[in-house]
Every structure is written in structure tokens, then in C-alpha cells.
Subunit: 604 residues, 2 copies
């Protein structure tokens, strides 16, 4: 079968590079997917064949496509075999804790028979009151990844991202690949990179939502929310109180807000220099003692946090691994900036920042100490839905299930709407970035050149006394050339931060379908409690306990949402101010330059 | 034979209009040229057939193409039959004054046998020292017309011109067609509209260079410069003195510079209302008495001026006849503005403004008076090269032919270089216009919408106390929508005038190949004088006379160039000042709007 693809952006072939010029909207046929380096070979409707950047095209849906080079496709076939297409309920199946997805138990089913698969929308799972939301997320996840594509790498300032700056075939950085290899071998990524089946994630196409949650979320795979709802174990670990604040339920905030500085990236090596890596210096404001961490340490922390808190708190992904940048320095700078953003967000979170594992990360002393802490953290049993067992609403009345459900629906609607809004802004910002760094400055440059050219023609006239005009015209021309440069550099000064903030929020919001899914599933279970009692599956007192626990879960979610809102207001206020301030400076500077150019012409 | 055409601009078909979307650079096949209304039917490479605007395509060279509707194709076949392809010399053939092109006389030939046709470049005629430049211009003229296409209608603000605003099929304005009919029937255009042969001028595709000089230039068709160089007649008509000024030879400038105001267009009708037309009010600053003129009167004036002064003074074309605008009012406004520009330029010229025919135009009293003056002007015999017989260099020494030639070469080089520079600026300005009125404001609008959308999502959060943020965000969004509108409207405030001025200069510069051609031909004749004397064709005293007259011609040309330069310096100084002033205001206003938007966010 032929693999067709749609061209997303115009791409102009460089002569002699065996490339193929394509235009936005064109349909091409993939003739070779295993070129690598972010390229595929394709044929256009005129039969011309050549290389096209992978990121410039979108393979038509439902057609298999594997990236030749950088992509880490997710093998969905593995999950498909475990999960019916219409999976809609979850089962209490504590006996099979290692099964990634628990099969449907008829006894727990409450869904209507016409309820169909939710297709590709990560949010669609909640559209028709599907009960087993979180298991439907398996199917939904790829789309979350897919939509992340347009706005993750495509817009930022580095050598990767901007189409004009796209690196040619073979421009991969082997050194960095090595670090990925390193990461890969230590992490749990093997299966996600193996298959060709339903691969949709493409090279450089990762969003920052929970893209690998499907096989990195043991908390989910071990159990449904029933594990907590019906748990008889006493809570282990530190208590997480939820208080009644001005805006509703809130987490306990520390008096002193933790922060840290990620800085000073240094190249290290191991295995007698065969493997090299970058270490970042992380300095917490509490101790002011710097600790060094490699990306893979951050990644380990991310996995622990996801395991432990993911059911209650959205844990945004780390900045993409798979960034292929031509310029090492820019890549490191960009990654550091994003690790800083991630760490700041984690520090700001009262639950995460005070957690043992996070403190361990910030207080790394030596390899031995680290390994001990690591082992301990990996053995933590209060993970997945069990985190809710540590939550203690203080002075807050138990909520009715109907209210719990309403709150959950409200958060779902909001995060979903915000997700749309943020993605929309990212798409537009991305296009604006391209215009500001591509055609627009080129045009100003050409205007500048045209003025200067006219000036030199005028100079050749042999007519006396026009030096004032020609000097002024040259100066105006140079001004437009300067403006061209300003225009091209401006996005780094303002749009960059707006995009980064929205990208962070896209990552955060991408976690909500999973988090909210856990709550949805719990609510469904509680609503089924009467039937379960009638069927003798649970006792009446267990039913009361389930309802109380759903209430506790809701307080946790409310506290988390209030935390999210207060951060959101702070972040958007700050970034919009910064954006507008820089925009004002930009336009003022242009006006000032033009005023100067204007003054050089004779007043008549 | 299939007629292929290149697509010059992207065109997006409107649904249901039987239109065909085409992309810049695409090759299409014309399937029906007689659609009319500025449209042709064409087929693309995928076999799809539909209507495409004529102005968006360029028919591949050497293929016949006739516009179906508005075009007034020039029948070159008529001239071809009179003129050998390699026509390179002109003949003194006073006995055949009515022959449009005089055949080559071997006795006057001085060209090398390998000198080939100059093809399509109006300037190419001077590249290889062709002697009979002016007759080669016959071949060159169509290109002059052709190159005018891109920048005449394509950029200005009205309903015509901007590709986005292109009218659909059948949107012709019959009323205006009627006026053209009227003009056609009374003017000398019949032959230029008859044929299908070498038609290159297309609907709406006229530049403002001397596009119809070939059959509107009896001064050229009656004779070569020999008519003047060897003339024994005494000069008729008013003398045109050339003085020695600070910058070299100059025309005699009047103490008071004439100007006039073109205003108050009014619809009139004749033939019991069957034919309608627009009358413009022309008010000279001298008399302050308004006179009314229809476009056809302007056109008559243009023809008279071209006849009389065209050999010595570039007479720019009137604004295009063939503008098809959807909006009558905008069309009339645009034409008026351009007629004003043309009249101002004519008024500023000391020779033209003081001429009898120009004064007749400005002092129109009644139909009878006008007709008498018209007849007189049409009988004027001091036309074509004979205008030089009225020129009297005052106190200026006779110039050697070598110096005459050097001056002529210098002017040729300059006007040619400026023509390139001006066309370059027009092309860039055209693109900038399209960007500023098309994609750029759309992008700002989308940014504005995205901010507002995010604001309304935030409002739906249910979280208390974020009204300041959401209000500020809405306000920022609206600001970007306002900026979008400012961006879209700005070109009318600044780029428009820059474009108009350059368009005027393109028109003027397009006349120079003809004007300089006359001088080149005269120089060649003078350089052949020795041979002619030796062959007994002219007497030695005739040779001396020829040289003196070439010197007079050169003074006329120098005076004209100095006039051109002084006007150019004035015009460009003024238009650049205006442009930059408006640009400064534009950027300042944007900065101010953004400053206001910025101030609405909370300072933290």
C-alpha cells in the first residue's frame, strides 16, 4: 500500500541535495521512510522524487509510518492485544498487578452497549459519560502526542524548529545520540521504541503532554481507583493535608517557597571517555548547595513523581529528549532553560517540593548516597491511586458523590477548553514565529536594498547637489535593513517566552485527561456501589468508605485545581506583561530608527 | 497548438464560480481565451478546468494570445509586414510621410550584418550600438508594455489590483465599457484593437510607459531624425530657448509655475442618456477658472503632446484605461488621483505647460471653441523630430558629435539603471502591499482572537479574583485586532504614495528608450555624414548643418535631463519624507496601543 502524506509547510529544495520542493497542502507519496536524520524520500504528483523533511509533512491517518531516524514510535499493538476496542470499564483485579491494562469484568460494567471507542481525542473519553475513562486513554494517548507535534519543536529559536533552519540529511549529532542511548538503556523506553504498528509519534514531533504515560504509569497499570476505594491497608508515608482556604480546598503551603537554579552545564564522560554526557548544576534556594544532575537523573525523578503523584497531580513531562539540533550550544541552552522551567514548577508545588524523592534529588551528595535514596524511592508503595490514602481533608465536610461529580466535570471542561486555547495560541504563535523570522525580515531587507540601490543609481546621475537626497536614501535603506534584523530577532525576546509558557501549560494540561480519568473512574465505582452491595460484592460499610474516599479524592483534585489556577494567573500575568513590554520596546525602537531616517531628508 | 501560460500569483478559486485555483509558478494550458471580463479558461496539470484571472498568468512567449474582454491587443503583424525583422537603419523618405514605418534604405545602412533583432528588451536596442534604434523600438515596445503589467494595477488600494480583491467573472461595469466605446470610436485606436497577431497587451495589464507609441507616434512614423537634420524649412511655431544654467543647459522656466487641481468628478450623459461618462473639473492656478474634461479629452491632449514633443520630452502615458474595478467610486477616485499626478507633471514642465495645446486644454470654454482649437492643434506641422527646429540654444557653443554621443550614452545608462531600480522597488512594494493587506493582519487578528479566547476560557474557571487578568487579556486581544486593522490600512497611508510616485517614474522612464532612440539615430546619421558626402548623397554644408543640429538636439536632451533630475530630487525627497513620517506614526501608534494594553496587567 502506498503511504500518502499531506505537506504542512512549503519547503524549497536546496540544489544538489537531492531534495524535493513541496508546497503546503500538496499530497505526496512516501517512497522511502528509512532515510533517517529527519528526512523521508517522497514522490510528488509530477512523479519527481526527492528528500523532504519529516516535520513538514503529515502522514495520512490510519497509515503506518515509522520515522527512519529520530522518532521513537509507540507500539500500540501491544496494548491493543490486551484491550478490547470498546473498553469502557475497569476491574478490581488486585491479583494481577503487573498487567498493563486489566480486562473488562462484566460484573462492573455500567456502560450502555452503543458506547463506542473514543478514537483519537484524549478528551473524548469524557464526552459520553464513559465510565472507565482512564483505560480509554490508552487509545486516546497517541492523539495527544500527535497534536503536540506542531508546537513543540517547530517554533523555538534554535537550529531545530524553524523550517528555514532545518538541518540537512546527515546532520545528526552523534554525541547526543550517545546520551540518548545511555538514557534508553537505563530507562524503560525499550518497548516504546520497538514496534512499527500504530506509530504516530514522529521525529521531533513530541509534545510535552504525558506521551509515554501508557507504559510509564505503573500506578495505573497496577490497578484502577478501586485499589484505594476499597483498600483496607492503613496509609503509609507522610500525610498530605488539604485545608479550607479562601478559594476553597487548598494544599498546605510551606512558609518559604522552594526554588532552584539550573545552571552551568558541563560535559562529563564515563567508560574511559567512550560515553559523554552533560551535567547540569542544580542549586536549591534553601541550601544554596549546588548538586550536579544529568538528564537521566531528571528523567528518573520524573518517573518517580509520576508514579507517586500522577493520579492526583499532573506531572508535566520533561523537555523532549529527541531534539535534534545542529548547534550543540543552543541545544544545551534550550534544554537547560526548559529543565529550569520544569524544576521551578515542581518547586512551586507544595506536595511535590516537600516530597522525599524531590528532596533527595536536591540534596544529592555522592553516588552512594544517591543510590541508597534511589532504591528506597523505587520501593515506595504509596504510588498510583494509593497516594489518596495519605490525603487528609482538615475540617472539610464529606462531599456527596453528585457534588464530587459536578466538580470533576467542571475541571474537565475547564482544562479541556484551556488545552484547546493554549494549543490554538501555540499554533498561531508558531506561524507568527515563522513569518517573523522568515519572509517578513526578508521583505524589509529587500525594501532596504531597493532604497540603497536607488540611491546609488541617483548618485550616478552626474547631476549636482543631490548628495543630501542620496545620503538620506541610503540611510533609510540601511534603517530598513536594521529593522529586518530587529524583526527577525524579536521573537527570541518576546514570543519565545509566551510560547514557552504556553508550551509548559500544554504539557500540564495534557496530564489532566489521565488525572481526571482516575477521578471519573472512582466516581463511577461509587455510583455502582449500591449494585455491588446488592450483588454481595461489597459490604454496606465498604460502600460508605468508598463514598468518603471519593470525597477525599475530590478535595485533593480541588486543592490541585486551585493550585493550578493560582499558578496560571501568576504565569499568564507575568508572561503577558513581559511580552507586551518587549513588543512596546520593539515598536518604539523601530519608530525611533525611522524618525532618525526621516530627519535626514531635506525639509521643503 | 496548445497555449501554455505561467501562473504569476497564487489564485484561490471561489466555490461555485467555476474558477480554478492556481499556484505561482504553475504551468497551465489555456483552453478558452474568449471568456471575457478579464478571465480565461485554463486547464492545470491534473486536468482540472476552470476560470483564471488573466492578470494572474503570463502566456508563454511567442504564443498568440488574445484577451477576450477588456484587452486592447496591439496588432503587430501590420508593422511586421512593413519592417524587416532586422530593421536597423532608418531612411530619409520625406516623400512617404504617411507610411507608418519607412523601409530600410541600403544607402544609409551602417550596421554589421550579424546584428540581430533586439527581442523584447526596450533598452536592448542600445546594447550593441544599433544605429537605427528608434525603428527597433517597434519590436521592443511590447515588452515595455509587458513589464508594465506587474506593477500597474497589481498593488494599489482599490477593488482592482490587489489579487484578493479581484472581481469575479461577469463583474464588468458596462457603464464604463461604454465610455471606452465612446473613446474608441472617436480616437485613433481602431487598428490597435483589431488584430490577434502579436497581441501581448492584456486586460488590465498596461504599464504606464509609452505603450501605444507604435501607432500613436506619427512623428516617428513620418520620418527618422534626418527629417530635422537635413530640413531646409524654416522653423515654425514658438521658439524653445535652452539656456546655460547652474547645472548645465536648462529650459526657460516661467516665473510663476503653473499648477492645476483635478477634482469633482461628475457623471454626464449624451445621446439621450444612452451614453454616460465622467467629467473631471480641472482648475488651473493661473486663471482659477474650472474647465470640465472627460477622459477622452485628456487622451486627446496626451496624443497631441506625444506627437509634438515626444522626440524631445518623455510624455508619460495617462493612467490606464483598462482598469476594471468592482467599485465605481474607488475607480473614479483612483483615476482622478492619477490624472492629477499626470496634470501636475505636465504643468511643472516649462515647455509643455506653455504650449498652445496645453493652454487650450486648460482654457476650454465651449464645444465650439474647443473644436476650433482641436482642429488647429491637429494640423500642427511642428511635430515629431521637427520640434528640434524650434529649439534655440542661447549662448551655448556647438558641441562636437563625440560629446553629444557621450551625453546621450550617459543619459541612457542613467535612465536605464533608474528604470531597473524603480521597477525593483515596485515589485518589492507590491509584495509588501500584499503581505500587509493579506497574511500579516490576518495573523495579528488571530493572535488577538487567541488572547481573547484564552481570556474567556479563564473567565469560565470558576476561580475567584482573576478578573484583572481576564480583562487585561481581553484588552490585549482587542489591541492586536486593532493592530491588524492598522496594518491592513497602513499601505494606503504610506506605501500607496511611494508606489504612485515610482509608478509615475516608471511611466516616464519607459519613454526614454524612444526619446533617446531618436538622439541615437541622429548621432549615427551625423557619424555617417562623411560617407554620405563621399557618396554624393549630401553636400559638405549639409554635413556641417547636421552636426550643428545634433548639437541642438543634445542641448534639448540635456535641458530635459536636468529638468528630469531636478523633479526627481524633489519628488523622491518629498515622497520618502511622507513615507517615513507615516511609518513613524504607524509604529508609534502601535507602541502606544501596546503600552496601554500592558498597563492593564497587574504589576507583581
Amino acid at each position: 500500500m502506498e503511504t500518502k502524506a499531506q505537506v504542512l509547510y512549503d519547503f524549497t529544495a536546496e540544489p544538489g541535495n537531492n531534495e524535493l520542493s513541496v508546497r503546503e497542502g500538496e499530497t505526496i507519496t512516501i517512497t522511502n521512510q528509512s532515510i533517517g536524520g529527519g528526512w523521508v524520500e517522497a514522490k510528488n504528483s509530477r512523479g519527481e522524487v526527492g528528500l523532504v523533511p519529516e516535520d513538514y509533512i503529515e502522514v495520512n491517518q490510519a497509515q503506518p509510518f515509522t520515522s527512519g531516524g529520530n522518532a521513537a514510535p509507540i507500539d500500540l499493538s501491544f496494548f491493543d492485544s490486551h484491550m478490547p476496542a470498546q473498553a469502557s470499564t475497569a476491574q478490581v483485579d488486585v491479583a494481577q498487578p503487573e498487567t498493563p491494562v486489566t480486562p473488562v469484568s462484566p460484573g462492573f460494567s455500567s456502560t450502555s452497549p452503543d458506547e463506542t471507542s473514543n478514537g483519537n481525542d484524549p478528551w473524548a473519553v469524557f464526552d459520553n459519560n464513559a465510565s472507565g475513562g482512564f483505560s480509554n486513554n490508552w487509545a486516546a494517548q497517541p492523539e495527544g502526542t500527535e497534536t503536540g507535534k506542531n508546537s513543540s519543536n517547530a517554533w523555538h529559536s534554535g537550529g531545530h524548529g524553524h523550517p528555514q533552519a532545518y538541518q540537512g540529511p546527515g546532520a545528526e549529532d552523534d554525541e547526543w545520540d550517545e546520551e540518548w542511548d545511555d538514557v534508553k538503556s537505563s530507562g524503560g523506553y525499550a518497548e516504546s521504541e520497538a514496534g512499527e504498528g500504530g506509530a504516530i509519534t514522529r521525529g521531533g514531533a513530541h509534545g510535552s503532554s504525558m506521551k509515554i504515560a501508557l507504559n510509564k504509569f505503573p500506578g495505573f497499570s497496577k490497578s484502577g481507583p478501586e485499589l484505594y476505594l476499597l483498600s483496607k491497608q492503613p496509609a503509609k508515608g507522610n500525610k498530605l493535608p488539604v485545608y479550607s482556604g479562601d478559594v476553597g480546598p487548598v494544599w498546605a503551603y510551606p512558609d518559604y517557597q522552594l526554588d532552584c537554579v539550573v545552571a552551568d552545564p558541563k560535559k562529563g564522560s564515563k567508560m574511559y571517555g567512550l560515553k559523554s554526557y552533560i551535567e547540569y548544576q542544580v542549586t536549591p534556594t534553601t541550601t544554596n548547595k549546588p548538586v550536579n544532575h544529568r538528564y537521566k537523573h531528571f528523567d528518573w525523578l520524573y518517573e518517580r513523581l509520576l508514579d507517586k503523584f500522577g493520579s492526583a497531580i499532573p506531572i508535566p513531562c520533561l523537555p523532549d529528549k529527541q531534539v535534534t539540533g545542529r548547534f550543540e550550544e543552543e541545544f544545551i541552552k534550550m534544554r537547560m532553560e526548559r529543565l529550569q522551567g520544569w524544576m521551578t514548577r515542581m518547586c512551586r508545588h507544595p506536595v511535590i517540593s516537600s516530597s522525599e524523592v524531590f528532596q533527595l534529588f536536591l540534596s544529592y551528595k555522592d553516588e552512594k548516597d544517591w543510590k541508597t535514596g534511589k532504591r528506597k524511592a523505587e520501593k515506595d508503595e504509596t504510588v498510583g491511586v494509593m497516594i489518596f490514602s495519605t490525603i487528609e481533608p482538615e475540617g472539610l465536610p464529606d462531599m456527596e458523590i453528585i457534588e464530587v461529580e459536578q466538580k470533576c466535570e467542571q475541571f474537565n471542561r475547564f482544562t479541556r477548553a484551556m488545552d484547546d486555547g493554549v494549543k490554538d495560541l501555540l499554533t498561531i504563535g508558531n506561524e507568527h514565529w515563522k513569518r517573523c523570522t522568515g519572509p517578513l525580515p526578508k521583505e524589509y531587507q529587500r525594501i532596504g536594498k531597493a532604497f540603497q540601490n536607488l540611491s546609488s543609481v541617483f548618485t550616478s546621475s552626474g547631476y549636482e547637489g543631490e548628495a543630501t537626497l542620496t545620503d538620506a536614501l541610503t540611510s533609510a535603506g540601511k534603517t530598513y535593513e536594521e529593522i529586518a534584523q530587529m524583526v527577525a530577532e524579536q521573537p527570541k525576546k518576546d514570543l519565545h517566552f509566551l510560547m514557552e509558557t504556553n508550551n509548559e501549560y500544554k504539557g500540564l494540561l495534557g496530564c489532566f485527561p489521565d488525572t481526571i480519568g482516575v477521578h471519573k473512574a472512582a466516581i463511577e465505582k461509587v455510583k455502582e456501589a449500591d449494585k455491588l452491595v446488592a450483588a454481595g460484592k461489597i459490604t454496606p460499610s465498604e460502600k460508605v468508605g468508598m463514598s468518603k474516599r471519593a470525597s477525599t479524592m475530590s478535595y485533593a483534585l480541588q486543592a490541585e485545581m486551585n493550585h493550578f489556577h493560582s499558578n496560571r494567573i501568576y504565569d499568564y500575568n507575568r508572561v503577558m506583561q513581559q511580552y507586551l513590554e518587549q513588543q512596546v520596546k520593539f515598536y518604539e525602537m523601530i519608530a525611533e530608527k525611522l524618525r532618525l531616517a526621516h530627519s535626514q531628508f531635506t525639509t521643503m
